[in-house]
């Protein structure tokens, strides 16, 4: 049985992937908090992923072509993240904002994994009683 074919698990998997990618962008923003001219980046909301919006990747016609490293693995980046402040050096990363985004992401991740576990438990119950 393929859990990925059950709607809920597919959705939860996509959500976990999305949150992991968002956390990666938070980490990039935080470490570049003192890099001149660095702009904070964020992903588009999860709703837009659900609407089937997918970024267009450059086609690779040879195995030697490099994979785009700017890609956030299937999730689209927001054109311009909502910024709190820009310093005179041109850096637009607010550590406070990134900390909030990070804890939001962690909490959403915890919620999704809990739901995942609960659904597995329900499936188990169904198997046992079936």
């Amino acid at each position: 049985m393929d859990l990925g074919k059950i709607g809920f698990f597919q959705l939860a998997g996509t959500r976990l992937d999305y949150l992991a990618q968002r956390q990666k962008l938070v980490a990039e923003n935080v470490v570049n908090a003192n890099t001149p001219d660095y702009q904070a980046r964020d992903l588009k909301s999860f709703d837009s992923v659900m609407e089937g919006i997918r970024p267009v990747e450059a086609a690779r016609t040879s195995g030697l072509h490099l994979v785009s490293t700017r890609s956030t693995a299937g999730f689209r980046e927001a054109g311009k993240a909502a910024l709190w402040e820009t310093t005179p050096s041109g850096n637009a990363v607010s550590l406070e904002q990134e900390m909030i985004k990070g804890s939001e992401t962690r909490d959403a991740f915890a919620l999704t994994t809990s739901l995942f576990q609960r659904n597995v438990q329900m499936l188990r119950m169904a198997w046992r009683n079936g």
Partner: protein
Amino acid sequence: MMNDALGATLKIAGAGLQAQSTRLRVVAENLANADSTATTKGGDPYRRKTVSFDSMMDRGVGAELVKVKQIGRDRSDFQLAYDPSHPAADDKGYVKKPNVQPLIEMMDMREAGRAFEASMNVIEQSRAMMTRVVDLLRS
């Protein structure tokens, strides 16, 4: 894919910790040398060091890490102090003092500490997320 991204956050944050440590080291050097004058007559004293960061695309991690771009020297003028008995005093009796300002160094130190803490926070958050994934296997 998900684990890749979470694993990458640890490497990214690690680069941040390293860069901020370097910055702290330079601040410590500056503060330690705040009174290092020359030993020869009219010679230049210690010149303040500066750190600049740059983002760097790491293809292995697939993310923009941070690195110390350059440890430069502050070109601002030295302060002069009148002390004719000092070995570094010039003909008029003035000694060149380092262009280190403890207040600026302390501010830089606080800023580095804050950025360091933020990277540590990211590591903690990512580790909490990873633990949740491992817990899924246990259930």
